[in-house]
């Protein structure tokens, strides 16, 4: 498919104490994170898309197929989707194999044995096929649940905080599997999360939800670089850049990664040359200078152009959006510094990047 299509979702739902009101136009490919605090309507939105909740008057179109419109409402079992719940929700009376077969038997077109083997391989659950769900660890259960959802050959994969019920060690275990899925699958994924790390690692697009409304939606780099509504990914605002490992310096254990606006040196975490990685740069780790500093310990100093300056909540601070020539960067400074450097949109500066985190 050259044109992957779009997902259009419009839902309005009123519950006592909560209202969902969204009108979203999402890409028909890649991972879209539905991101927001608990109670912001992420799960409700996902359940509306799945048809598990019926929002009267809603509209849902997925890559050209209408799933809901006016009086038309495809029930959940007639929608070609896969759903991974927060708790694995495996069928306790069936073995792992039985759980995988459950959807495969019912899906049209039926999945091939080869596909099943591929999925089992992808998620590393070959050893578990004859086990009962009750004997699996949390991480294993969730991997089986993901495999079960994929085995029906969904045209849309919905994941509701699949890692939420796991401790940190398990998450670290399963995140690489999710990254493999993202890179190998050709279907759109809606991924609900309130965890910044997961979003930074997995998402291509992001929908920021709050109190049942979408604050922002778009490619992750754009949304995170917006000054009008800084979206906090974790403790601070910052941007995520897609980059490629170009060189590994064995002497200093550094890796050079290239992104559309330049190159960065980062700690070498063992990624081989040519691999696509993501780097996260927090606004507080970026400072600005009018000239390239000599004799600095800072490794990454890039020329940039100021695009926008916004006041922060604290009257002493400002947030600056920089253009690196193809990529955006956020920097936090004091308003005094912005005044002293006479920064205005269009100023040419050097961005001194103190810390870069490789997030996968």
């Amino acid at each position: 498919m050259n044109d992957p299509g779009r997902i259009h979702a419009r839902f309005r739902l009123e519950h006592p104490g909560f209202a969902l009101d969204v009108d979203l136009d999402l890409p028909g490919r890649g991972v879209t994170a539905l991101f927001g605090p608990s109670g912001s309507g992420k799960t409700t939105l996902l359940r509306c898309v799945a048809g598990l909740v019926r929002a009267k008057g809603g509209h849902l179109e997925v890559n050209g197929q209408v799933w809901q419109d006016g009086g038309l409402f495809l029930p959940a079992h007639r929608r070609p989707l896969g759903y991974v719940f927060q708790e694995a929700s495996l069928f306790a009376h069936l073995s792992v194999r039985g759980n995988l077969a459950y959807g495969m038997k019912r899906a049209r077109p039926a999945a091939s044995q080869a596909l099943l083997e591929h999925i089992v391989d992808l998620l590393g659950i070959g050893q578990l096929l004859d086990r009962r769900p009750g004997t699996l660890s949390g991480g294993e259960r969730q991997r089986v649940a993901i495999a079960r959802a994929l085995a029906v050959q969904p045209q849309l994969l919905l994941m509701d905080e699949p890692l939420a019920a796991m401790d940190l060690a398990r998450k670290v275990d399963i995140l690489p599997y999710l990254e493999r899925l993202r890179d190998e699958l050709d279907i759109p994924v809606l991924y609900v999360s309130h965890t910044p790390d997961e979003v930074a690692r997995l998402a291509d697009h992001i929908v920021a939800l709050e109190a049942g409304r979408a604050l922002a939606a778009g490619p992750i780099a754009d949304v995170l670089a917006r000054l009008d509504l800084p979206i906090r990914l974790g403790e601070d605002v910052g941007v995520v850049l897609e980059a490629v490992v170009e060189e590994r310096d064995r002497t200093w254990h550094l890796a050079r990664v290239a992104f559309p606006g330049g190159v960065l040196w980062v700690r070498d975490d063992g990624h081989e040359v040519g691999r696509r990685v993501r780097v996260r740069i927090l606004a507080r780790d970026v400072s600005l200078a009018l000239e390239r500093a000599a004799g600095s310990s800072i490794l990454n100093i890039l020329p940039a152009v100021v695009r926008e300056i916004a006041n922060e909540e604290h009257p002493g601070q400002a947030l600056v959006r920089l253009d690196l020539g193809g990529a955006s960067l956020l920097a936090r400074l004091t308003r005094r510094s912005a005044h002293v450097l006479a920064l205005v949109p269009g100023s040419e500066v050097y961005a001194q990047i103190k810390a870069v985190a490789l997030v996968g």
Binding site: H77, R78, E87, S89, L90, F91, A92, R108, R148
Partner: protein, 224 residues
């Protein structure tokens, strides 16, 4: 020790309990399913009606069933119109009465089991292309199996153990309505204590074994 009228009574009792239990499982399943999942305001009243036999004296149930199934009662007129005659003092009448009397002992364990299964496995089934009916048979029923075991045992045992309703609806017709509990009563009335002992001891042993089996094969909370 057990003579042929005793054996006839035992056979009749087993037949009655089996037929009643099968009917109860068939009728109780939709009632329990509805009670477990409905948000309707009728849930309370329906649950209360189902539970009535637990608290009412058997004579009260027997009395009203007798009136309803009698020649002037609505059920009686209906069965006569169908050419079936009247139900009181027949095996069919006993079955109807037993179904009413044992209903809560089947519906409540099933309802608890369906509630324990919860909504999530059915939603998971729906996202795996199972229609609601398909999901009921392939997911809800197997997961509720412990509840079915309990319901079957309790429904069967409770029917075997009933006396008052049977006496009022069925009377005491050998081979037709004279079940074990009535036969014991007859023996006691006739001062035949040895025969009464034989049947009564058999009932105690039967009930004990049934309950033992129930607790041994259905330990609570280990399935999930």
């Amino acid at each position: 020790m057990l003579d042929s009228p005793d054996l006839a009574a035992i056979w009749l009792t087993l037949r009655l309990a089996t037929v009643t239990t099968v009917l109860l499982l068939l009728m109780g399943t939709p009632i329990a399913w509805w009670l477990a999942r409905t948000r309707s305001g009728w849930k309370g009243p329906v649950a209360a009606v189902v539970a009535l036999p637990i608290v009412l004296p058997p004579t009260v149930i027997g009395f009203y069933l007798l009136v309803a199934m009698g020649p002037n009662g609505p059920v009686g007129q209906f069965t006569q119109a169908l050419g079936l005659g009247l139900l009181p003092f027949t095996f069919a009448g006993l079955v109807v009465a037993s179904v009413f009397y044992s209903l809560p002992f089947v519906v409540q364990p099933l309802q608890n089991a369906f509630e324990a299964v919860g909504e999530r496995p059915l939603e998971a089934a729906a996202t795996l292309r199972a229609s609601p009916l398909d999901a009921f048979f392939s997911v809800a029923l197997p997961l509720a199996r412990p509840g079915y075991l309990t319901a079957t045992v309790l429904g069967f045992a409770h029917t075997v153990g009933e006396f008052g309703v049977v006496l009022m609806i069925g009377g005491n017709i050998p081979g037709q309505t004279r079940v074990v509990s009535v036969q014991i009563y007859d023996h006691v009335e006739a001062m035949e204590y040895a025969q009464a002992h034989g049947l009564a001891a058999a009932m105690v042993a039967f009930s004990f074994l049934v309950l033992l089996g129930l607790y041994a094969f259905n330990p609570t909370g280990r399935q999930r």
